[in-house]
Amino acid sequence: MTTAPAPLAARRARRPGTAGKRARRALLNLAGLLVALVTLFPVLWMISTAFKPPTELFSLTPHPIPLHPTLDNFRHVIDGTGVTDSSNNPIPYWTFLRNSLFVTIVAVAVSSLLALLAAIALARFKFRFRTTYLIMLLIVQMLPQQALVIALYIDFRSLNLLDSLTGLIAVYTAFALPVTIWMLRSFAASVPKELEEAAAIDGAGAWTVFWRILFPLVTPGLVATSVFAFIFAYNEFVFALTFLGVDTPRFTLPLFVQFFQGHSTSGTDWGAIMAASTLFTIPVLAFFLIIQRRLASGLVAGAVKG
């Protein structure tokens, strides 16, 4: 800890004199701009690379904006010449998109429903093992997936759930649950109990109270937690990699993106990888931007306030 008084110059700069204030503001804005540019750069570079022809990828002076933008990389990726099935037929991008969306949507729907029931139990009832259950949820979230995948691989092998999207759905549902329950619980707890009590006094039964009062008020929370579950399942890599192996027609989008890097025969086709990565990433980022405000409040509610 420094005990010396702040330097004179710094103290003068902080005095509410206009010149010092303006300089300070400009400096802060410059720092903000720098942070934003460094942060955005990788994503922008991905998009720009996706539009570059091969000659520009390996040119001696890289240009931030493609000189001769081309859609060849996207065409290559969407037609599926990069990934083939066991009899060497190309698999188009739409197959992977369909796999990913199917797995993700089913897993999110199931886990949201189960989590809502559990969250109501945790937010509205006092029962014996409530605290134990909450701590169990916290611990379960932290178990490493690359450890559990060994046991799940062996179990699913005997259940014939490998090489199937059903197995992935089951695993994604389970691994989305702890966080979803944890976040939904705080949303359900923030609904004033008086509303439910008033409805009950007016003669509403349990189902009516749930459907007409609790459910509408928890919906924003349900949206926020679904987003988290969606992002988790859509991005998940370890289980998909292990369960699907070389079953290319069942690949989800993350495997598809990584496949180009791992399995290319004639050098790495970075244009195609970046095009695939762009097709995979941009929907997520667009989604994030649209729901930005709601997401920020949900994130904070789940992460800090509990």
């Binding site: 800890m1 420094t2 802060l28 720092a31 903000g32 942070v35 934003a36 942060t39 990788p42 994503v43 570079w45 991905m46 040119s59 002076t61 890289p62 189960l114 029931l117 139990a121 945790l122 029962f127 605290t131 909450l134 701590i135 379960v140 932290m142 490493p144 997936q145 690359q146 450890a147 559990l148 995948v149 060994i150 046991a151 799940l152 062996i154 695993v171 649950l177 109990k193 439910e196 009950a200 349990a206 189902w207 009516t208 109270v209 991005n235 370890v238 993350p254 990584q258 791992g262 790495t268 970075w270 990565s277 995979f280 990433t281 931007l289 997401l295 920020a296 994130l299 992460a303 800090v304």
Partner: protein
């Protein structure tokens, strides 16, 4: 029209509600003996009364979620522990040979494997670098966000949101491309830097993936890039709850920004920092997807962290599930020890209520 229709089932169910599921809390204040049992109840109504009398509603609501978690997370975790004491490989998984209990055999084999100690050292050193770096960058950006004007703050936080939202696989292939020896922008920029900044032509075609130190430098940049937005947003949220008078007072007393951070902001946000620290350690210690894409795709065994070492023991030929389970068990135990700290910090912060 649609609205009134959709309401009807709810209204109808007032009389035939299956259980006091949601309002059980309210009803149970009535002593159980005072609820008379009129004759001629349907089986459903009788079940509802039984559930309410024994206060079973919360347990019933928890059953589905708990069953799924138990089947797909808790049981596999227990299985890892069991497998780690067994000889479990190719012959056992195809059923050609029964599994054998071999006691601590897997563990002693691992502890004598130099690859294990190398991967453990890499994992620990990596966490020691990445965790403080992510926390520092995140906190600095959070502090910056709290001082910026409205428009600039929105711009910076939106770009941070985009970094945070980028899927791990995408982010990893992007960083692999940025640092590619042929055509990667990082090597190009470094070779153009003046030599007093450490640049020079020797950076051209520098390979970042061929040995552990460069590969983990890339991984560090990647994880800081992906990790700092969460820290920044959380710190910013914490800063907003801080009374501004304290800083006014400190400024009048002549405290600089460094001092007022350590004497006011940090103590106020200490619980938040504790949670963030634990979470960062758990995430960075167990990092897998990014490490897999950045270091494992080339397949250099001397670049494995603990997770990769374990994964490749299990899933490359010949598979050694028993030994991999032993490594997984060690990894899980280490993470659980950190998690205990995390749970305690969460309890202290009043999250477990």
């Amino acid at each position: 029209m649609v609205k009134t229709e959709s309401r009807r089932p709810g209204r109808r169910s007032i009389s035939s509600s299956p259980a006091g599921a949601v309002t059980g809390r309210l009803r149970r204040r009535r002593p159980p003996s005072s609820s008379p049992r009129p004759p001629g109840l349907t089986a459903r109504q009788r079940a509802a009364i039984w559930v309410r009398r024994h206060r079973l509603a919360p347990y019933l609501l928890l059953i589905p979620a708990t069953a799924v978690i138990a089947w797909l997370i808790l049981w596999p975790a227990a299985q890892i522990g069991l497998f780690s004491f067994q000889d479990y490989g190719l012959m056992q998984i195809i059923g050609a040979q029964p599994t054998q209990w071999i006691g601590l055999g897997n563990y002693s084999q691992i502890l004598h494997d130099p690859e294990f100690w190398l991967s453990l050292r890499i994992t620990v050193l990596f966490s020691l670098v990445v965790v403080p770096l992510t926390l520092t960058v995140g906190t600095l950006v959070g502090l910056l966000l709290s001082r910026l004007g409205r428009k600039m703050a929105t711009f910076v936080s939106t770009s941070a949101l985009l970094a945070w939202g980028t899927p791990a696989v995408s982010a990893s292939v992007i960083f692999a491309w940025l640092t590619d020896p042929d055509g990667g922008i990082v090597d190009w920029s470094l070779s153009k830097l003046p030599s007093w900044l450490g640049g020079g032509p020797h950076w051209a075609e520098f390979s970042w993936q061929n040995s552990a130190l460069p590969a983990y430098t890339v991984l560090t940049a990647l994880l800081v890039w992906m990790g700092f937005p969460f820290i920044a947003v959380t710190v910013l949220a914490g800063l907003r709850t801080r009374p501004p008078e304290l800083h006014e007072a400190a400024r009048i007393d002549g405290a600089g920004p460094w001092r007022s951070f350590w004497t006011i902001t940090f103590p106020l946000l200490r619980p938040v920092f504790m949670v963030l620290l634990m979470l960062s350690i758990i995430w960075d210690f167990g990092v897998f997807t990014q490490a897999f894409v950045i270091t494992a795709a080339p397949g250099n065994r001397d670049e494995f962290n603990l997770g990769l070492y374990e994964y490749f023991k299990a899933f490359t030929q010949p598979p050694a599930y028993g030994m991999a389970s032993a490594i997984a068990f060690i990894l899980t135990l280490i993470l659980l020890i950190i998690t205990v700290g995390y749970v305690r910090a969460s309890v202290k912060q009043g999250e477990v209520r």
